[in-house]
Assembly symmetry: C2
Homo-oligomer: 225 residues x 2
């Protein structure tokens, strides 16, 4: 995107963030995605070429840096990029306030939703060692997914990992999304039966602690009243 040739703060922000996908990449980096393939999985429709290009542009603009030193190399927001948090949050809150309703059927990819859930798992609430949860989507395709935790690090699997499951979570995708988004309380979903937990009483209780909600859940909750 060419610049606007206007020395206006809003124009400058639009210049850096205005290209297609860029804001979503920043959002994903904020929510804990750092590897190329992790980012790629969270952006259905983008091509690998384009993601690569956008990441290079973000590096050139100083919002993102590639860290090679760590155990797993990856992309991280710089201080400049992290400083965008309040602004991106304000944009999201605007959308929540005004468009918070009726997700269209084809806007709910089970894979992406599971990725978001994975990214927001409350790690401290997870048990040590291996921990496996199966999600049953009730008629969606794919019909199920697994959240496999090893040493408090969750990973979504779409193929049966063939481990014993500590808990089974059953809900259709819209319900699971409404819960994640904070528009339906876990307790209310359990009560009405749109969300069903299958496991020991301890595990069912533990779910409410490790299952993290969207950062926009408080805003959505505030709307509901």
């Amino acid at each position: 995107m060419r610049g606007y040739g206007q020395y206006c703060p809003v124009a400058k922000a639009a210049e850096v963030l205005g290209e297609r996908w860029t804001m979503l990449i920043v959002r994903d980096l904020m929510e804990g995605a750092h590897q190329f393939n992790d980012l790629y999985a969270g952006l259905p429709g983008i091509s690998r070429t384009l993601l690569s290009q956008r990441l290079r542009r973000l590096q050139a603009d100083g919002l993102v840096e590639r860290r090679n030193g760590a155990a797993r190399p990856g992309y991280w927001l710089t201080a400049l990029g992290l400083d965008l948090q309040p602004a991106i949050f304000a944009l999201g809150e605007w959308a929540v306030r005004n468009y918070g309703h009726d997700p269209k059927r084809d806007e709910l990819h089970p894979e992406v939703l599971m990725l978001w859930i994975e990214r927001h798992v409350q790690r401290d609430a997870l048990p040590p060692g291996r921990y496996v949860v199966r999600f049953e989507f009730r008629g969606a395709r794919p019909p199920r997914a697994w959240l496999v935790v090893e040493d408090r690090t969750p990973t979504v699997c779409h193929d049966d990992p063939r481990f014993e499951c500590d808990l089974v979570v059953s809900a259709d995708i819209p319900t699971l999304h409404r819960v994640f988004a904070g528009r339906l309380a876990v307790s209310a979903a359990l009560r009405e039966g749109s969300l069903v937990l299958d496991g020991t009483a301890d595990e069912r209780r533990r779910f409410t602690r490790w299952f993290g909600l969207s950062p926009f859940a408080p805003a959505a909750r505030a709307l509901a009243g």
Copy 2:
């Protein structure tokens, strides 16, 4: 712009605001531009066709409505559009915090700067009747412009209106911009002589009251210390 097919608040916001020019159009509407030609003048580089298209899209998305009833028909933000103010402001503040320095020479159009100044004039501080101020840009092209006020309504003229001037403001464009942006206090500019006011003592004093700064001036000032 096609949507992202993701039911995420940030994606939704990016969908509505992410097209080139759209955010700047919203910004201009927030700052008091309402007529097609007024918007057009504030967006150097856009084509009339594209502006028209973007305005139609903004109407379809519910951010803008066309009001035909008023004395001058024009485009106005709806409640949905106005609700974007905090988010757009946060984006601008991010840019001010991080890119607040070194405007490039060709990013400072005298015409656009004068338009911004016109839009932020403090009307209550203007005298009734006709009031005319000439701006001398010291070597820029065009070299001067007039702010003609009739009944507290300011209009920028780039051709000599042939009225007597109540005040002459001399400053090069970068200085005038720094003052408008809040990065150089009027008092400091006057002291160092980069801004010169020519008129009666009363008129010179009045200038500091009607000359309004950018909405981002407080953020810029805060940076300066």
